[in-house]
């Protein structure tokens, strides 16, 4: 097998409220970890956008990764009604130009995924082909199902699902081709193999959850999956490059 080109869809930088001594907090630390593990690129969000304020966190993210070509911004977003962020159309355009993505924290930031709250915003992101990431701990499968049904062109990436999810996931995958899964914590026994056979490798993305979780586990899930090398390349990084519009 040729060396895989890993593009991590799930990383964080920034000073946070509960760091551990071994956690890195800045872009240099993330890049050092990526070099050590053999990860080419990463999509990264800022702890401030989660724990302080999406606008401040997004600005800090842009400053912190300004010169780092290997790091792609993942911005936090909010319902547009409170006008805390630029208008959906401007925001979506800026994110697309930065080859970035948007991450939603409905539980932490106190809003619902209902179309009344975020419908316009998700339309704008769909239009600009900006992928949307969401931790399963911030939502539920019923809301995800509704978002997928109402926004069929939106690339949705669900994060940190762990392994007890197939009975929720498979019915959605039977219907929605735009649902993607961060497979870093998808520790289903031979699960990647099963998903590739039934739904195709396009549904899965490599993600680590650095700096909270380590790299070896998510990496081994991909490298040791009983699937073709082409499928491994898609999961390792090809799928994320595609949805972000990164050409190489």
């Amino acid at each position: 097998m040729a060396e895989l080109r890993f593009f991590d869809c799930n990383t964080r930088i920034g000073r946070c409220s509960t760091p551990r001594p071994e956690h890195f907090l800045d872009a240099a630390g993330l890049l050092a970890e990526m070099d050590c593990a053999g990860i080419e690129r990463a999509l990264v969000h800022h702890a401030w956008s989660v724990e302080w304020d999406p606008h401040e966190g997004n600005q800090a993210l842009l400053r912190d990764i300004a010169d780092e070509e290997r790091l792609h911004p993942c911005f936090a977003a909010l319902p547009s009604a409170t006008r805390e962020l630029p208008s959906p159309r401007d925001f979506a355009r800026q994110v697309r130009q930065a080859h970035g993505a948007v991450r939603l924290f409905p539980t932490q930031h106190s809003y619902t995924l209902d179309d009344v709250s975020v419908g316009h915003f998700l339309d704008a992101l769909s239009f600009e082909r900006v992928p949307v990431l969401i931790d399963i701990g911030q939502t539920n499968w019923r809301d995800i199902s509704q978002v997928l049904a109402r926004h069929p062109a939106l690339n949705l990436i669900v994060l940190n699902t762990y392994y007890r999810v197939d009975r929720n996931l498979y019915p959605l995958w039977d219907r929605f081709g735009n649902l993607h899964l961060d497979c870093g914590s998808y520790g289903v026994h031979r699960g990647i193999e099963a998903v590739c056979q039934r739904f195709g490798a396009e549904r899965l993305l490599f993600g680590t959850d650095l700096p909270i979780h380590e790299v070896g586990g998510p990496m081994a899930l991909v490298t040791y999956a009983a699937i073709s090398d082409d499928d491994k390349q898609l999961i390792a990084g090809g799928n994320l490059r595609r949805v972000l519009g990164v050409s190489d």
Binding site: M1, E3, L4, R20, E22, H23, A37, G38, Y162, Y163, R164, V165, D166, R167, Y170, S185, G187, V188, H189, R190, G191, E193, A194, L210, P211, I212, H213, E214, V215, G216, G217, P218, M219, A220, L221, V222, T223, Y224, A225, A226, K232
Partner: protein, 267 residues
């Protein structure tokens, strides 16, 4: 440190010439979620893909509703895949003592008791309760290791309780299950394992915390830590990959991958 283990993980290559044993395995379906290829055959195929020589197994039905059915399943699987599937004998302390005695005597008569597995959480029973009495009696008499499920804040079988019991039974090795499942569990389990020869720590779990394995090795040494995965409850690749990619010496990785288990189980 060479890059043998790191390269194997990056390239998805089965390790060659290294002893790798998964000391915490199950088998079969489970009520709570879908598990593809969960049969003994499906598991052995997975072991082959990962270069894992053997696993020590207690079927899901054993830690769930029927330990006797589980013990029969794993013995049959061990007969079908000798050296690949090593059986635990599982005990459910909620059944009458006479039944436990019969089960232990049965497997003893075939010389098939290599290790016990208990799940005080699933069976909702405290590990030092009388229902486990006969099993521990046998374990002391025959120096048989015991793997117990454990968790942070676990009132049935926390690391501190297991370690206290280990102090009372110096020839029984207590394997503390899921010892790396959270930072509070790591702190408790490492604190308890320090200085106790017969307390070892199992890495099984889905939370692969950044730098946790390195911290554990620093605190208790690799000879007290063993690889377990929960296969097929959880795929073994992540647990294996964490060890292969860790910032540890090759010798430490060898201990964790197989040598600790070889020693503890007398394989």
């Amino acid at each position: 440190m060479t890059d043998t283990f790191v390269d194997a993980c990056r390239l998805g290559q089965a390790l060659a010439g290294e002893l790798v044993i998964d000391a915490h395995a199950h088998m079969g379906p489970w009520h709570n979620f879908h598990i593809p290829h969960n049969s003994a055959r499906g598991m052995v195929e997975r072991l082959d893909q990962l270069g894992i020589d053997a696993c020590v197994s207690s079927p899901h039905v054993a830690i769930g509703p029927c330990y006797r059915e589980g013990n029969r399943q794993v013995m049959a699987a061990a007969d079908e895949y000798p050296e690949r599937i090593i059986p635990y004998v599982t005990i459910n302390p909620n059944y009458p003592e006479a039944e436990t005695r019969e089960e232990i005597e049965h497997w003893h008569s075939f010389a098939r008791i290599k290790a016990f597995k208990i799940h005080p959480a699933c069976h909702s029973y405290k590990v030092d309760g009388p229902g486990y009495g006969l099993m521990f009696e046998y374990a002391r008499e025959h120096s048989v290791p015991v793997l117990s499920h454990s968790w942070a804040g676990d009132s049935q079988a926390g690391a501190t309780l297991l370690s206290r019991m280990a102090g009372e039974m110096p020839n029984v090795t207590f394997i503390v299950g899921h010892a790396a499942s959270s930072w509070s569990m790591i702190d408790e389990a490492c604190g308890e394992a320090q200085g106790k020869d017969n307390v070892v720590l199992d890495l099984t779990g889905s939370q692969l915390l950044y730098m946790a394995l390195e911290k554990m090795v620093e605190r208790v040494g690799a000879a007290k830590i063993l690889f377990g995965s929960d296969i097929p409850f959880i795929d073994p690749a992540p647990g294996l990959g964490r060890i292969l990619m860790a910032r540890l010496s090759d010798d430490d990785k060898r201990q964790i991958l197989g040598l600790t288990t070889k020693r503890v189980f007398g394989l």
